[in-house]
């Protein structure tokens, strides 16, 4: 019996202590008709050796390609130390730190995380994580609705340049509580969310304005103007940001005259492997004035009965296990281990390392753009400056080109034509610091060949 330590002697002695004739008897309160699942469709157990073989073979099926897809999940180098430490049993197999005295490791680490992510986003308070960037945006909008008593309409100006998958998650999870996302178009030339487009919805007393920087197209938005405009409407400005970009880009807390009100995003670029989309973690920061409306766990520093510094969960009165139906969110389990990894990751990179990573991403994407747009039939779509993704237009349907590249073990990018048909044969491409000159050249050669072949 894998993972069950009982010997036959144990079982007999334990039953005797209980005064039960058999293990089955322990279930005698359950109606007999319900008992006895057979689980026929489940195969017999495998030894660790056999399951290792199976999983290695399956993993091998999927590996080996050179990846230029970003679109919200970014391939970055992760220092070896990050996961060697994060998967230590003491972090990996601990529960939520309810018993603070026996959880000072996790708690101090989370306090350090809160410090780092506040500083990176330029905000005052952070929680200890949400599920991912998309759900963090959903929670940020619900929080905005609680905070913004002045404009409580629930209307949220939501640029179409915000990650479409995030918008779908918002649509699935927030309308029941009154959030009404209002689509705001992007400028087809620059790729930016134009202030004018926002102004067209200005009369509707928006509760919040969302802005993603860089936006889904990798294009940089005019965040200062938009933030000031949102505040002029008495709307909260909710920022969605890529944490790696913040090494070079203005912190949301400094956008416009007063800064963003709530900042969220996906922490994946900070030490989470691509891993098929998860586990990642969402971050959410805000101003101290709004701390009591924040969802999720928050760690505070305090003292013990001898006056020694320690760390503990605080403001639990916001949470579901205390407040139940009136809680700020139903979130309970979050993404603690990913935050552990991110904290180690940020410590190993430092501001200097993160800035180098961001610069490398910029350079690589610029260089790749140059090489790809030198190919006949490939053009750049947007004019505004960007961060580390770029939209290219091909002279034929993207899906076929991507399939041909995949046969050469190159993932050429994300096909925008399904969610943005108005852009035509548009492809979103990303080259992070992990790409070498050889990689860029390999992509360019392969694309040249594919376009020639399909021509």
């Amino acid at each position: 019996m894998p993972f069950i330590p009982h010997t036959e002697a144990d079982v007999q002695q334990m039953l005797a202590a209980i005064g039960a004739p058999s293990i089955e008897a322990l279930f005698d309160e359950i109606p007999e008709a319900l008992r006895g699942a057979s689980l026929e469709k489940i195969p017999s157990g495998l030894s660790e050796m056999a399951v290792s073989r199976l999983m290695r073979e399956r993993a091998r099926q999927d590996g080996g390609a050179l990846n230029f897809i970003g679109a919200g999940a970014y391939e970055h180098h992760i220092p070896a130390a990050v996961w060697e430490i994060a998967t230590r049993g003491e972090f990996y197999s601990a529960y939520t730190p309810y018993q603070a005295e026996a959880s000072q490791g996790t708690l101090q680490l989370l306090y350090e995380y809160q410090t780092m992510i506040c500083s990176l986003t330029g905000m005052e308070v952070s929680n200890a994580s949400m599920y991912d960037g998309a759900s963090a945006l959903g929670e940020a909008l619900l929080m905005a609705l609680r905070v913004n008593k002045q404009n409580a309409s629930g209307r949220v100006l939501m640029p179409q340049a915000v990650n479409p998958l995030y918008r779908e998650v918002v649509a699935a999870t927030t309308p029941a509580q009154g959030v009404q996302p209002i689509a705001v178009a992007y400028d087809p030339a620059s790729g930016q969310t134009a202030l004018d487009a926002l102004k067209a919805h200005g009369g509707s007393a928006p509760t919040a304005v969302v802005i993603q920087q860089p936006n889904f197209f990798g294009v940089l938005e005019d965040v200062d103007a938009i933030t000031d405009w949102a505040h002029a409407q008495n709307a909260l400005l909710v920022a969605v940001v890529n944490p790696v970009s913040l090494a070079l880009l203005k912190a949301p807390g400094q956008w416009g005259a007063k800064g963003a009100d709530i900042v969220c995003g996906d922490g994946q670029p900070l030490g989470a492997p691509l891993s098929s989309g998860g586990p990642y973690f969402g971050f959410l920061t805000s101003r101290m004035a709004h701390v009591r409306e924040m969802p999720g766990r928050i760690i505070g520093r305090t003292v013990d009965l001898e006056g020694k510094t320690g760390y503990t969960l605080t403001l639990q009165a916001r949470e579901q296990h205390i407040r139940r139906a009136k809680a700020k969110s139903n979130i309970c389990t979050n993404q603690g281990l990913l935050v552990t990894a991110a904290t180690i990751h940020m410590s190993l990179l430092g501001a200097q390392g993160l800035a180098q990573v961001a610069s490398s991403c910029l350079r690589n994407t610029a260089q790749l753009t140059q090489q790809l747009t030198a190919i006949a039939g490939v053009t750049r779509v947007f004019s505004a400056p960007g961060f580390h993704e770029v939209v290219l237009r091909l002279n034929r349907p993207v899906a076929g080109v991507l399939a041909a590249l995949a046969e050469a073990d190159i993932f050429g990018g994300y096909d925008l034509s399904e969610r943005y048909p108005e852009l035509g044969n548009a492809l979103l491409v990303c080259a992070t610091e992990t790409k070498t000159e050889g990689d860029l050249a390999r992509y360019a050669q392969a694309l040249t060949a594919v376009l020639q072949q399909q021509a």
């Binding site: 144990d10 999927d62 995030y166 003292v303 009965l305």
Partner: protein
Amino acid sequence: MTEALIFEVSQPGRCAVAQNPGAGVDHGGIPEALRRRDVPRLPEVSELQAVRHFTRLSQRNFSIDTHFYPLGSCTMKYNPRACNTLAMLPEFLGRHPLAPESHSQGFLACMFDLQEILKEVTGMAGVSLTPMAGAQGEFAGVAMIRAYHRARGDAARTEILVPDAAHGTNPATAAMLGCTVREIPTDANGDVDVEALRAAVGPQTAGIMLTNPSTFGVFERRIHEIAGIVHEAGGLLYYDGANLNAILGKVRPGDMGFDVIHMNLHKTFSTPHGGGGPGAGAVGVSERLLPFMPIPVVGRQGERYRWLDEKDLPQSIGRLSAWMGNAGVLLRAYVYARMLGREGLLRVAEFATLNANYLAARLKEAGFELAFPARRASHEFIVTLKKQKQELDMTATDVAKRLLDYGFHAPTIYFPLLVPECLLIEPTETEDRQTLDSFVAALVAIWDEAKQDVSKLKGAPYTMPVRRLDDVRAARHLDLRYQPAA
């Protein structure tokens, strides 16, 4: 010894050089106005300093790998290391969520198999793996119930029934979906008050959220009757899978009449808790809820696996995460399920229940009072220290803190809320009898200490990195991030 904050050992200009990609910093085409003005306060430490700091921090945690952790309702069982190793194979870690299906067959095969396994153990017709934790699974479940009623034009059903002993996430979730919550009382034996339920249902009933066994650690015996009442009234039944470990391989929620269930894979399928997550809250549904499952789901066509999305499930409640939820956690759960296999899964509830009943019997024998002495324990049970509180001023908190000194993590305390001074104890099936015996001995010793001098307990813990912490101060004087003295 205290461990300094990493910011306190930082030095301006220091960094872990090997982690820099090497090239310098430049801003490319970023316009001046959009550039960062300050340097973010990240640590400036060497690689050794970071490794040492976080390794030392890790040693300041209790965990399953180091301590018995009988935290009721949390199912802290052994997390097999192979699950971690195999989920972290480089190809799995490197797979982009948008990788083409041609390069995803290995991963998709695992997800498809896991869906099938979860269908079988729960007796449900379909499974979606995307919810990222139990609470999100609950959200998905209630959203599907809502969508089902709406699809039938039955928009008035907005009330969710919840037993008073339910987890806090149940009412919180219902509220997030704009439902009203009505509590149903529990009787003295821990069962739902069926008459009260009968009186509560009606055309406004969207459904009931039920944990079975309940948070009292006892099995809801009249579940068939409850299902009948709710279904007859037009409502659906939601199974909160937090306590699924109690019935895994023994009883299937589908067979009890539930329409939808979430599973905490980080409990029942032993993926790690990670100090607070990540979890995975897969949902299973009966036939009538199949069209509403959250996307994506994995389908199979012949030998090929493929994603099913809005095109395949146009009535879906939609996406709860950008992609496939906590895919890496799902891989761990899959490896666990394959190692246990049919025989192993059939035994989980049996041995979890054996351990709980044994521990309950031993504690009862030692004089502790069980909250439901007339009932079988499920995978967990409740001790109430009401008597000790009155006689000795020994509280559940005191016992919890003192247990840490004895090398045991504390049980869940003060939950469920309805039982005074309660310890909710869940040993799980992976602990051996000798460990349970030592735990009994520790509780007896602590009670003895209280009889001698309860102040000994009030000062506990003594052997942790800190003594008892001041939670009130933490909430009053909010100190939520490090700010160096000006």
